[in-house]
Symmetry: none
C-alpha cells in the first residue's frame, strides 16, 4: 500500500531527541497502522538502533529498519517543503496553528514532501525546533486534562492523514438488499393470520388501524430475504407448536 | 469541559472483560484527553478496583473513580439507545459498519444515550457481544498491518467525538429514537420464551446460534419505545390467545 504511492506522497514522521526506545517502537507501530513508513530520528537520547524499540513496535519492524538518523532537525527535513511542528498550545509563537485534520488536508493537497515533527516525550519541541516549521499542529484536547503521549500524538496525525490516502478499504458490508415487497407482504399476511387466530385484533373495528401499525413496524427493518425467511419460520413455530 | 455538558450528551465507554488494569488506566487517560468521563467495566478479568489502573491513567483518576462495574454487557448498556460495537473487520456480521467519524456524527445528532463498546485486549468482542449492538465501528487501518491496541482504539473514537462536542448541537426531539437497550432486551427475552414454549429451539444445541440470529434480526430495526411496546403486545397475544 505504501509502496503503491510515490515515496514523496507520504509525509515523514520526525522524532526529535526521543528519550525511550520503547516510545520509538510505539510511534512506529502507530505509523504503520495508518500506512506511514518513513521515520526519521534526530539525536535519539540512547542512540540508534535501540533494542527497546523492537518489542513495542509489535511487528512494525519495516518502519524501524528503514528509520534514518540525523544530527539536526534541519538535516532531517532538508528535503521537505511543508514542515509541521506538533506542540501543545505555545505562547508567543507567531505561526499558523492547524488541527491534525487541517494539516492532513493540506498535505494531501500539497506538492513536495511534508513532515510532522514531534518533540521529546517530556518536554516537547524547543522554540528553535518550532522555528524550523512553517506551521504548528495542535491536537485540540481537554483544556483541563491534556495528557497525550508521543505515540498518541503520532497516531492521531497518522490517522487523519490516512483518511485522505485511500488506504481505507471501503467498508462495504453487504447487509443484504431488503427482500422484495412480495416476500415482506407474505410475512405480514402470515403475521396477521396468526394474530387473528390469537384474537389480537379486538375490537374488530380497530383492526385496520392496528394492522397498519404492524405493517409499518415490520416494514421499518428492511429485512432481507434470509431474515424474512427466519421470521416466517418463527411465525410457523408459533402457529404450530411442537407436541411436547 | 465535560461538566459543562449534560451527562446524557456524552457517550459511555464500555470495556468488556478487559484483561490488564494498566490498559483500563490507559483507556481512562485516552478518554479524559477528549472530555469523556463515563467508563463502564463488564467483568474485568482481575476485578475492580485494580491497583494497576491508577499509574497508567496518568492523572485521569476522576474517570477511574467514577467507573461503574457490571456483570453483563446487557446491563452495562441498558440505558443506551445507540450501542456501537468496535471491531476489526468481521466476516458474516450483518450490521451497518461505520467509521469513528461517522459514529461521532451520529452520536452528536442523536437523542438518547450512546455507548462505544470495546472487547478484551487480545480477542476483541465475541459474536454475542456484537449482537447487542445496532452498529459496528471499525477504524479503517492498514490492511497489511492492523495493530491497534485498546487505548488507541478508545482514543480515536474519543477524538472523533470531541470534534463535534464544541459545537452546540440543537437537541432535535425525535420521537423515532430507538428504545433504550433494556426495552429491546425485554422484548427479545419475551420472544425467546414464547419460542421456547413453542418448541422452536430444536435441536437444543443449536439454540444459542438461533437466538443470536433472532437477536440480530430484532436489533436491526432500531424500534422505538412505542414500536417495542406494540411488539410486546403482539407477543403477549400470541402467548395467551383469547378464548374464542
Amino acid at each position: 500500500m505504501s509502496d503503491a504511492r510515490p515515496a514523496s506522497g507520504q509525509p515523514v514522521i520526525v522524532l526529535v531527541r526521543p528519550q525511550l526506545g520503547e516510545n520509538i517502537g510505539k510511534a512506529a507501530r502507530a505509523m504503520l497502522n495508518f500506512g506511514l513508513t518513513e521515520l526519521r530520528l534526530v539525536s535519539p537520547r540512547d542512540g540508534w538502533p535501540n533494542p527497546d524499540a523492537g518489542p513495542s513496535a509489535a511487528g512494525a519492524d519495516i518502519v524501524l529498519d528503514r528509520a534514518e538518523l540525523f544530527d539536526s532537525l534541519a538535516d532531517a527535513v532538508a528535503d521537505c517543503a511543508h514542515v509541521y511542528a506538533t506542540t501543545v498550545r505555545k505562547r508567543g509563537v507567531t505561526k499558523p496553528v492547524v488541527t491534525p485534520e487541517e494539516a492532513a488536508r493540506e498535505i494531501h493537497a500539497a506538492t513536495g514532501r511534508s513532515a510532522y515533527v514531534f518533540g521529546p516525550e517530556r518536554s516537547g519541541l524547543e522554540t528553535e525546533d518550532v522555528a524550523v516549521a512553517r506551521k504548528i499542529v495542535t491536537v485540540p484536547i481537554n483544556p483541563e486534562f491534556g495528557s497525550l503521549n508521543l505515540a498518541q500524538a503520532v497516531i492521531l496525525c497518522a490517522y487523519e492523514w490516512s483518511k485522505g490516502a485511500q488506504l481505507q478499504q471501503p467498508t462495504v458490508v453487504d447487509l443484504g438488499e431488503p427482500a422484495p415487497q412480495a416476500e415482506l407482504d407474505g410475512m405480514i399476511a402470515q403475521f396477521d393470520t396468526l394474530l387473528e387466530n390469537a384474537g389480537y385484533f379486538f375490537p374488530p373495528d380497530r383492526a385496520p388501524a392496528t394492522k397498519r401499525t404492524l405493517r409499518n413496524l415490520l416494514t421499518k427493518p428492511g429485512w432481507n430475504h434470509l431474515e424474512i425467511r427466519t421470521m416466517r419460520g418463527v411465525l410457523s413455530a408459533l402457529g404450530n407448536p411442537r407436541q411436547r
